[in-house]
Symmetry: C2
Subunit: 176 residues, 2 copies
Protein backbone atom coordinates (compact mmCIF):
# COMPACT_ATOMS: atom_id res chain seq x y z
CA UNK A 1 0.00 0.00 0.00
CA UNK A 2 2.85 2.38 1.03
CA UNK A 3 4.82 1.45 -2.06
CA UNK A 4 1.88 2.57 -4.21
CA UNK A 5 2.38 6.15 -3.03
CA UNK A 6 6.05 6.44 -4.05
CA UNK A 7 5.62 7.48 -7.72
CA UNK A 8 2.93 9.90 -6.69
CA UNK A 9 5.13 11.54 -4.01
CA UNK A 10 8.02 11.71 -6.46
CA UNK A 11 5.73 13.39 -8.97
CA UNK A 12 4.59 15.94 -6.34
CA UNK A 13 8.21 16.64 -5.37
CA UNK A 14 9.22 17.23 -9.00
CA UNK A 15 6.26 19.54 -9.47
CA UNK A 16 7.27 21.43 -6.31
CA UNK A 17 10.84 21.84 -7.53
CA UNK A 18 9.66 23.02 -10.91
CA UNK A 19 7.33 25.57 -9.36
CA UNK A 20 10.22 26.74 -7.17
CA UNK A 21 12.48 27.11 -10.20
CA UNK A 22 9.80 29.12 -11.99
CA UNK A 23 9.53 31.41 -8.98
CA UNK A 24 13.33 31.70 -8.84
CA UNK A 25 13.37 32.61 -12.53
CA UNK A 26 10.73 35.29 -12.04
CA UNK A 27 12.91 36.91 -9.36
CA UNK A 28 15.97 36.62 -11.61
CA UNK A 29 13.99 38.34 -14.37
CA UNK A 30 13.02 41.14 -11.99
CA UNK A 31 16.68 41.47 -11.00
CA UNK A 32 17.74 41.62 -14.65
CA UNK A 33 15.23 44.41 -15.26
CA UNK A 34 16.57 46.40 -12.33
CA UNK A 35 20.23 45.74 -13.07
CA UNK A 36 20.48 47.06 -16.63
CA UNK A 37 23.71 48.85 -17.56
CA UNK A 38 21.92 52.21 -17.58
CA UNK A 39 20.58 51.78 -14.07
CA UNK A 40 23.89 50.53 -12.69
CA UNK A 41 25.60 53.55 -14.30
CA UNK A 42 23.07 56.00 -12.94
CA UNK A 43 22.56 54.71 -9.41
CA UNK A 44 25.99 53.25 -8.68
CA UNK A 45 28.31 55.63 -10.56
CA UNK A 46 26.71 58.98 -11.41
CA UNK A 47 25.08 59.30 -7.98
CA UNK A 48 28.30 58.60 -6.09
CA UNK A 49 31.35 60.85 -5.73
CA UNK A 50 34.11 60.21 -8.27
CA UNK A 51 36.47 57.43 -7.13
CA UNK A 52 34.24 56.45 -4.22
CA UNK A 53 35.01 52.89 -3.18
CA UNK A 54 33.45 50.38 -0.79
CA UNK A 55 35.67 48.45 1.56
CA UNK A 56 34.59 44.82 1.06
CA UNK A 57 35.88 41.38 1.99
CA UNK A 58 38.12 39.69 -0.55
CA UNK A 59 35.45 36.94 -0.98
CA UNK A 60 32.80 39.51 -1.87
CA UNK A 61 34.50 40.23 -5.18
CA UNK A 62 32.98 37.26 -7.03
CA UNK A 63 33.89 37.34 -10.71
CA UNK A 64 33.10 35.15 -13.72
CA UNK A 65 36.66 33.79 -13.47
CA UNK A 66 35.99 32.53 -9.91
CA UNK A 67 32.90 30.65 -11.09
CA UNK A 68 34.78 29.14 -14.01
CA UNK A 69 37.49 27.91 -11.64
CA UNK A 70 34.93 26.42 -9.24
CA UNK A 71 33.14 24.71 -12.14
CA UNK A 72 36.48 23.21 -13.17
CA UNK A 73 36.71 21.83 -9.64
CA UNK A 74 33.30 20.17 -10.28
CA UNK A 75 31.40 22.36 -7.82
CA UNK A 76 27.68 21.91 -8.60
CA UNK A 77 25.45 24.60 -10.11
CA UNK A 78 23.21 24.79 -7.03
CA UNK A 79 26.21 25.50 -4.86
CA UNK A 80 27.50 28.16 -7.26
CA UNK A 81 24.11 29.88 -7.27
CA UNK A 82 24.00 29.83 -3.50
CA UNK A 83 27.47 31.33 -3.38
CA UNK A 84 26.49 34.11 -5.82
CA UNK A 85 23.31 34.75 -3.83
CA UNK A 86 25.08 34.92 -0.47
CA UNK A 87 27.87 37.16 -1.75
CA UNK A 88 25.57 39.62 -3.50
CA UNK A 89 22.95 39.75 -0.72
CA UNK A 90 25.73 40.90 1.56
CA UNK A 91 27.30 43.28 -0.97
CA UNK A 92 23.94 44.98 -1.54
CA UNK A 93 23.28 45.35 2.18
CA UNK A 94 26.70 47.00 2.49
CA UNK A 95 25.94 49.47 -0.31
CA UNK A 96 22.51 50.18 1.20
CA UNK A 97 24.14 50.81 4.59
CA UNK A 98 26.28 53.69 3.29
CA UNK A 99 23.29 55.51 1.76
CA UNK A 100 21.22 58.09 3.65
CA UNK A 101 17.47 57.47 3.33
CA UNK A 102 17.08 60.51 1.07
CA UNK A 103 19.94 59.57 -1.24
CA UNK A 104 18.68 59.09 -4.84
CA UNK A 105 20.12 55.54 -4.94
CA UNK A 106 18.52 54.47 -1.65
CA UNK A 107 15.22 53.15 -3.01
CA UNK A 108 16.87 51.41 -5.93
CA UNK A 109 19.30 49.61 -3.62
CA UNK A 110 16.54 48.72 -1.14
CA UNK A 111 14.49 47.14 -3.98
CA UNK A 112 17.50 45.05 -5.01
CA UNK A 113 18.02 43.97 -1.38
CA UNK A 114 14.36 42.86 -1.21
CA UNK A 115 14.68 40.83 -4.41
CA UNK A 116 17.76 39.11 -3.05
CA UNK A 117 15.95 38.44 0.21
CA UNK A 118 13.07 36.79 -1.70
CA UNK A 119 15.51 34.74 -3.73
CA UNK A 120 17.36 33.56 -0.62
CA UNK A 121 14.07 32.51 1.00
CA UNK A 122 13.02 30.63 -2.12
CA UNK A 123 16.41 29.04 -2.42
CA UNK A 124 16.74 27.94 1.17
CA UNK A 125 13.28 26.32 1.16
CA UNK A 126 14.16 24.01 -1.68
CA UNK A 127 17.89 23.56 -1.92
CA UNK A 128 19.36 23.48 1.53
CA UNK A 129 21.75 20.65 2.30
CA UNK A 130 22.93 20.39 -1.29
CA UNK A 131 26.01 22.57 -0.89
CA UNK A 132 29.58 21.64 -1.75
CA UNK A 133 31.98 21.89 1.16
CA UNK A 134 34.24 24.57 -0.38
CA UNK A 135 31.22 26.77 -1.13
CA UNK A 136 30.08 26.46 2.48
CA UNK A 137 33.56 27.55 3.59
CA UNK A 138 33.31 30.76 1.56
CA UNK A 139 29.72 31.45 2.66
CA UNK A 140 30.62 30.87 6.30
CA UNK A 141 33.61 33.15 5.96
CA UNK A 142 31.22 35.80 4.60
CA UNK A 143 28.54 35.57 7.26
CA UNK A 144 30.96 35.23 10.16
CA UNK A 145 32.92 38.15 11.53
CA UNK A 146 34.99 40.02 8.96
CA UNK A 147 38.10 39.71 11.11
CA UNK A 148 40.89 37.80 9.47
CA UNK A 149 39.62 38.22 5.91
CA UNK A 150 41.61 40.56 3.70
CA UNK A 151 39.78 43.64 2.43
CA UNK A 152 39.53 45.33 -0.94
CA UNK A 153 38.44 48.80 -2.06
CA UNK A 154 35.96 48.38 -4.92
CA UNK A 155 33.68 50.80 -6.82
CA UNK A 156 29.97 50.17 -6.11
CA UNK A 157 29.27 49.85 -9.83
CA UNK A 158 32.05 47.26 -10.23
CA UNK A 159 30.40 45.18 -7.50
CA UNK A 160 27.07 45.22 -9.34
CA UNK A 161 28.80 44.58 -12.69
CA UNK A 162 30.23 41.38 -11.21
CA UNK A 163 26.81 40.52 -9.80
CA UNK A 164 25.15 40.79 -13.23
CA UNK A 165 27.84 38.95 -15.19
CA UNK A 166 27.81 35.99 -12.80
CA UNK A 167 23.98 36.00 -12.71
CA UNK A 168 23.82 35.71 -16.50
CA UNK A 169 26.40 32.94 -16.39
CA UNK A 170 24.46 30.94 -13.78
CA UNK A 171 20.86 31.49 -14.86
CA UNK A 172 20.69 32.20 -18.58
CA UNK A 173 20.35 28.49 -19.40
CA UNK A 174 17.78 27.48 -16.79
CA UNK A 175 15.75 30.71 -16.90
CA UNK A 176 15.45 31.21 -20.64
Amino acid sequence: MQRGYAPFLYFVAVLGLEAAMQKECRIIEALQNKLTYQQRLQYMKHYFPINYTMNVQFEEVLRVANITRLRDQSVGELSLRYLWLSVNSQVLLKIWAVLPEKHPSWEYTRDLCYLFEQLTEEYENYNQGNMDANVWDVVEQLVSSDAGSSRKAVYPKALLDNCVKVMLMLYSESCK
Copy 2:
Protein backbone atom coordinates in the same frame (compact mmCIF):
# COMPACT_ATOMS: atom_id res chain seq x y z
CA MET B 1 42.70 123.73 -12.40
CA GLN B 2 43.80 120.17 -11.44
CA ARG B 3 43.00 120.84 -7.79
CA GLY B 4 39.48 121.73 -8.77
CA TYR B 5 38.88 118.16 -9.99
CA ALA B 6 39.92 116.52 -6.71
CA PRO B 7 36.54 116.65 -4.87
CA PHE B 8 34.80 115.54 -8.05
CA LEU B 9 37.14 112.57 -8.53
CA TYR B 10 36.78 111.65 -4.87
CA PHE B 11 32.99 111.81 -5.28
CA VAL B 12 33.17 109.54 -8.36
CA ALA B 13 35.42 107.10 -6.50
CA VAL B 14 33.03 106.95 -3.51
CA LEU B 15 30.11 106.40 -5.86
CA GLY B 16 32.07 103.62 -7.57
CA LEU B 17 32.85 101.91 -4.27
CA GLU B 18 29.24 102.15 -3.18
CA ALA B 19 28.03 100.67 -6.43
CA ALA B 20 30.60 97.88 -5.99
CA MET B 21 29.38 97.19 -2.44
CA GLN B 22 25.80 97.04 -3.66
CA LYS B 23 26.81 94.52 -6.31
CA GLU B 24 28.75 92.52 -3.70
CA CYS B 25 25.68 92.51 -1.45
CA ARG B 26 23.47 91.27 -4.29
CA ILE B 27 25.82 88.31 -4.79
CA ILE B 28 25.89 87.67 -1.03
CA GLU B 29 22.07 87.64 -1.05
CA ALA B 30 22.07 85.14 -3.91
CA LEU B 31 24.54 83.00 -1.95
CA GLN B 32 22.36 83.16 1.15
CA ASN B 33 19.37 82.01 -0.88
CA LYS B 34 21.32 79.06 -2.23
CA LEU B 35 22.97 78.14 1.05
CA THR B 36 19.91 77.64 3.26
CA TYR B 37 20.11 74.84 5.83
CA GLN B 38 17.65 72.73 3.83
CA GLN B 39 19.73 72.95 0.66
CA ARG B 40 22.99 72.25 2.44
CA LEU B 41 21.38 69.23 4.09
CA GLN B 42 19.95 67.92 0.83
CA TYR B 43 22.86 68.52 -1.56
CA MET B 44 25.81 68.09 0.79
CA LYS B 45 24.57 65.40 3.19
CA HIS B 46 21.63 63.39 1.86
CA TYR B 47 23.14 63.11 -1.63
CA PHE B 48 26.51 61.87 -0.35
CA PRO B 49 27.34 58.48 1.16
CA ILE B 50 27.20 58.35 4.96
CA ASN B 51 30.51 59.46 6.54
CA TYR B 52 31.92 60.69 3.21
CA THR B 53 34.66 63.22 3.85
CA MET B 54 36.72 65.58 1.71
CA ASN B 55 40.45 65.77 2.20
CA VAL B 56 41.14 69.50 2.52
CA GLN B 57 44.03 71.71 3.61
CA PHE B 58 44.10 72.72 7.23
CA GLU B 59 43.63 76.39 6.18
CA GLU B 60 40.45 75.53 4.28
CA VAL B 61 38.59 74.85 7.51
CA LEU B 62 37.77 78.49 8.25
CA ARG B 63 35.54 78.81 11.29
CA VAL B 64 33.90 81.71 13.14
CA ALA B 65 36.54 81.25 15.87
CA ASN B 66 39.34 81.88 13.33
CA ILE B 67 37.73 85.15 12.26
CA THR B 68 37.25 86.24 15.86
CA ARG B 69 40.93 85.60 16.56
CA LEU B 70 42.02 87.53 13.45
CA ARG B 71 39.73 90.42 14.40
CA ASP B 72 41.37 90.46 17.83
CA GLN B 73 44.69 90.78 16.00
CA SER B 74 43.19 93.90 14.29
CA VAL B 75 43.03 92.33 10.83
CA GLY B 76 40.74 94.56 8.72
CA GLU B 77 37.28 93.53 7.51
CA LEU B 78 38.27 93.71 3.84
CA SER B 79 41.09 91.27 4.45
CA LEU B 80 38.82 88.92 6.37
CA ARG B 81 36.29 88.93 3.54
CA TYR B 82 38.99 88.23 1.01
CA LEU B 83 40.21 85.34 3.15
CA TRP B 84 36.68 83.89 3.43
CA LEU B 85 36.21 84.34 -0.33
CA SER B 86 39.50 82.67 -1.26
CA VAL B 87 39.01 79.75 1.11
CA ASN B 88 35.45 79.02 0.05
CA SER B 89 36.06 79.47 -3.69
CA GLN B 90 38.65 76.76 -3.41
CA VAL B 91 36.57 74.53 -1.14
CA LEU B 92 33.64 74.67 -3.57
CA LEU B 93 35.85 73.85 -6.54
CA LYS B 94 37.12 70.83 -4.61
CA ILE B 95 33.58 69.63 -3.88
CA TRP B 96 32.60 70.21 -7.51
CA ALA B 97 35.63 68.22 -8.67
CA VAL B 98 34.50 65.03 -6.88
CA LEU B 99 31.02 65.12 -8.45
CA PRO B 100 30.18 63.37 -11.74
CA GLU B 101 28.27 65.67 -14.13
CA LYS B 102 25.07 63.69 -13.60
CA HIS B 103 25.28 63.73 -9.81
CA PRO B 104 22.22 65.46 -8.29
CA SER B 105 24.48 67.93 -6.42
CA TRP B 106 26.54 68.86 -9.49
CA GLU B 107 24.41 71.78 -10.74
CA TYR B 108 23.91 73.19 -7.25
CA THR B 109 27.67 73.16 -6.60
CA ARG B 110 28.43 74.65 -10.02
CA ASP B 111 26.01 77.53 -9.33
CA LEU B 112 27.75 78.22 -6.03
CA CYS B 113 31.15 78.17 -7.78
CA TYR B 114 29.88 80.73 -10.31
CA LEU B 115 28.60 83.04 -7.57
CA PHE B 116 31.97 82.85 -5.82
CA GLU B 117 33.71 83.55 -9.12
CA GLN B 118 31.57 86.67 -9.64
CA LEU B 119 32.25 87.80 -6.08
CA THR B 120 36.00 87.32 -6.49
CA GLU B 121 35.95 89.36 -9.72
CA GLU B 122 33.98 92.13 -8.05
CA TYR B 123 36.22 92.06 -5.04
CA GLU B 124 39.51 92.11 -6.89
CA ASN B 125 38.42 95.05 -9.07
CA TYR B 126 37.84 97.28 -6.08
CA ASN B 127 39.80 96.06 -3.11
CA GLN B 128 43.11 94.72 -4.26
CA GLY B 129 46.17 95.92 -2.43
CA ASN B 130 44.30 96.43 0.82
CA MET B 131 45.21 93.07 2.35
CA ASP B 132 46.84 92.49 5.71
CA ALA B 133 50.09 90.56 5.52
CA ASN B 134 48.94 87.56 7.58
CA VAL B 135 45.83 87.16 5.40
CA TRP B 136 48.01 87.17 2.30
CA ASP B 137 50.14 84.45 3.85
CA VAL B 138 47.12 82.21 4.30
CA VAL B 139 45.75 82.97 0.82
CA GLU B 140 49.12 82.28 -0.77
CA GLN B 141 49.40 79.04 1.14
CA LEU B 142 46.01 78.08 -0.27
CA VAL B 143 46.67 78.92 -3.90
CA SER B 144 50.20 77.54 -3.97
CA SER B 145 50.91 73.83 -4.09
CA ASP B 146 49.29 71.84 -1.30
CA ALA B 147 52.59 70.26 -0.34
CA GLY B 148 53.68 71.00 3.20
CA SER B 149 50.25 71.97 4.44
CA SER B 150 48.61 69.53 6.82
CA ARG B 151 45.35 67.92 5.68
CA LYS B 152 42.02 67.28 7.33
CA ALA B 153 39.09 64.98 6.50
CA VAL B 154 35.90 67.08 6.66
CA TYR B 155 32.26 66.39 5.71
CA PRO B 156 31.13 68.45 2.67
CA LYS B 157 28.19 69.83 4.67
CA ALA B 158 30.50 70.91 7.50
CA LEU B 159 32.57 72.89 4.96
CA LEU B 160 29.46 74.74 3.73
CA ASP B 161 28.20 75.23 7.31
CA ASN B 162 31.47 77.04 8.08
CA CYS B 163 31.11 79.02 4.85
CA VAL B 164 27.61 80.27 5.82
CA LYS B 165 28.40 81.07 9.44
CA VAL B 166 31.44 83.16 8.51
CA MET B 167 29.52 84.84 5.65
CA LEU B 168 26.80 85.97 8.06
CA MET B 169 29.47 87.20 10.48
CA LEU B 170 31.25 89.25 7.81
CA TYR B 171 28.36 90.62 5.76
CA SER B 172 25.24 90.88 7.91
CA GLU B 173 26.12 94.42 8.99
CA SER B 174 27.15 95.90 5.63
CA CYS B 175 24.57 94.02 3.52
CA LYS B 176 21.42 94.52 5.59
